[in-house]
Amino acid sequence: MEYILEMKNISKQFPGVKALNNVNLNIKKGEVHVLVGENGAGKSTLMKILNGVYSKDSGEIVFKGKQIQIRNPREAQEAGISIIYQELNLIPKLSVAENIFLGREPLKKNGLIDWKMVYKETEVLLKKLEIDLDPRTKINKLGIAQQQMIEIAKALSFKSDIIVMDEPTSALTDKEINKLFAVIRQLKESGVAIIYISHRLEEIKQIGDRLTVLRDGNYIGTYEVKDIDIDTIIQLMVGRKVDEKYPKETAEISDIVLEVRNLNNAKLKNISFRLKKGEILGLAGLMGAGRTELARAIFGVDPINSGDIYINGIKKNISSPLDAIKNGIGLLPEDRRTQGLIQKMNVLENITLPNLNSFVDRIFINKKREINKSIEFIEQVNIRTPSPLAKVRFLSGGNQQKVVLAKWLCANVEIIIFDEPTRGIDVGAKVEIYKLICNMAKRGKAILLISSELPEVLGMCDRILVMHEGEITGELSRQEATQEKILSYATGRNKNVG
């Protein structure tokens, strides 16, 4: 028996969409098997079938030599298949141990929960993963990386033979990623197979043994990681050649549009910087360095304790997003699903929301003008939607992000803050977003680009600010910036701003 899991000729039809078409996936014991494909390629659908969330239309699943039917996630877990989703599934107000044994608490003879046993077992699990934590700690006290480890501990407690990890590194710092990879290697050695889904292709080389590529619901092939290079993987994923990863074009950089002087609040210490017209200013740093907090402070979401913001040389008092928009600032928030868009509304309504005033005649919204204007922006940023009246929830991640972008173009702001604009977006759409950002700079917008992906910051920005614990610790020009320099400022080892 070579494979521990074989998924053969799996097909799944959703109304109007063939999500999977005769897809195969074979997993060996103790390997890290990377599953790649653009958004909508069918990775999640395939994993949800493996986990019993969806039922397959045809095909078979052979697990440990036996054909099995998985009807729900519980059955999958009990059979030895665990999934760790990108959005972690822990209950914040319960403790580590309570979460791990949720729904299957060991009972004493009298029918009450054997808490002693729960905590003891949890301790053993945590020790095994070398996690230094009290099993009684509440989940909401833990960072994302630690929560992820708890999910892994939970998977182990089911004696899983296969653990699926969906984008496990998307919210982790480099240090945390190394820790995760160490744990993955340890799991491998003990014979657990990992199905690893990630948009970060550079990780494949670091951690993967074999990989399977899906495209538009079709099985493209399975390859040994050591025999394939990243460019080839990208080509297989998108079915064409992606010419340039960072299509940087330098725009004419002129007057200062935004100046922040000695900004302080609960999360920020003495932040000062200037942003010019046509400039793409990068904001790098580790998770929790205060980059998002800085964006929120400038945009008027979080209060400022002291310090001033100047727009075009004039001091402004910005105490709400509404003030910020009136002063020509727009923000693409970190999480487009929960902060950037209103999923229940359509593309048009989302695009015109910040600037609805300009579509109002007397008291009524002029819908004709709204439609014409939104079509103009849909074409300008190339949103693939059947109509301006389609609900945004039916668009792919990349297209949703373009709707957020169109929103700020429609609002005609001068300064745009991008907070992780390409998180969770597939390769092809990423390049499109980069092109749009460059285009906007060329048209004289000033851009602040927050990103955790260093290659993105290096590839896109004219100048880079690095933050560490709420402070700006370094400033680098495009020419002098390297990953190493950014990291040394980001970890606080070095400082060059006085």
Binding site: P321, A324, L353, I375
Partner: protein
């Protein structure tokens, strides 16, 4: 109106079909209630000879009018993702204020305006409770439910104020071009609500707040201001309902409208206004109110006791919402 301008863009994405499915679901939801209403009417016309008569149908609408006014008002706050439990109490307070002014000063205009202001003020205070004190809408309006009812009892000392002047009675019992005044009022309010929700900034913001409050805020919507306005509108509608009810029964009672809030919320929810917020229409709400009216009327005609009527209406509410949930899957 919008559809004519729609298909300019190319269908180049396979998700487009999903979108059409999404719309289908919405149409189903809208027509689902119409089909249910039609089936109910068909059944009742067969089983009772009295159902399908002009006078009975007019009666159904008249009986539904108070519930319809409250339901129209509460639709706004349910779309924000909130709730208003104070509708019935505010209705009583507004009616009683009108009654007291009529009794002591006799000025009809002042009495009506005062009732409207009291209703709007209660809603405004609900809005302040929710936005300034950060109370959950359930708690804030539960408080108002008790406050308004208590004030109504304090003002009247529990005695009814009866014998209202003729012009007021016209509001409840009169006819305009052969149609009962309350029905005309409901029709006017419906049109106004529909226009607010579909054609104005406030309406758009209402859906945006209910759809995703955080995203609405980050798009520059003044969420708190909008919420206060929307709760004020709901209160105003309770005030209108208070005037119409007092006029109809020719007396202002401090105990009027007990439990009406639940009927109004039920009507909106049966009409497809999502309690999660961000979805729904006043057309749905009106249909929901009519469904409840027809149901009550039909059960009366079929000689079902009022006790059992409660049971049936509860079941219908649960069924309507669970069907809605099923469709979403």
């Amino acid at each position: 109106m919008l559809d004519n301008n729609e298909p300019k863009l190319i269908l180049n994405d396979r998700r487009s079909r999903l979108d059409i499915k999404g719309n289908l679901g919405e149409y189903l939801q809208r027509f689902g209630i119409i089909i249910a209403l039609f089936l109910m009417c068909a059944f009742l016309s067969i089983t009772s000879p009295h159902f399908l008569t002009v006078s009975n149908l007019a009666n159904v609408l008249l009986q539904s009018s108070i519930n319809a006014i409250l339901a129209l008002g509460v639709t706004f706050v349910i779309i924000t993702g909130g709730i208003d439990l104070s509708l019935g109490s505010v209705l009583a307070l507004a009616g009683v204020v009108m009654g007291v002014i009529l009794q002591n000063y006799g000025s009809i205009i002042i009495a009506i305006v005062a009732a409207l202001i009291v209703g709007a003020l209660c809603g405004y205070i609900n809005g302040l409770f929710i936005t300034r004190l950060n109370l959950p809408p359930f708690i804030a309006t539960l408080g108002m439910m008790s406050i308004a009812r208590g004030l109504a009892l304090v003002i009247t000392k529990g005695y009814p104020i009866s014998g209202l002047p003729e012009p007021i009675r016209f509001i409840g019992a009169g006819k305009i071009l052969g149609i009962s005044t309350p029905i005309v009022i409901v029709a006017l309010l419906f049109i106004i609500c529909h226009i607010i929700l579909t054609q104005t900034k406030l309406g758009r913001y209402n859906y945006a707040i209910g759809g995703n409050e955080e995203a609405a805020k980050l798009s520059g919507v003044n969420v708190n201001k909008c919420k206060v306005i929307l709760y004020t509108i709901t209160g105003l509608f309770s005030g209108i309902a208070g005037i119409v009810l007092a006029a109809r029964v020719n007396s202002a009672l401090a105990i009027a409208g007990m439990g009406y809030e639940l009927d109004a919320i039920a009507a909106a929810v049966i009409g497809g206004v999502s309690q999660a917020g961000g979805e729904g229409s006043v057309a749905g709400t009106i249909l929901g109110a009519i469904v409840m009216g027809v149901l009550r009327n039909g059960l009366n005609l079929l000689d079902v006791s009022t006790y059992w009527q409660q049971v049936v209406i509860g079941l219908v509410l649960v069924c309507a919402v669970s069907l809605d949930q099923l469709k979403r899957r």
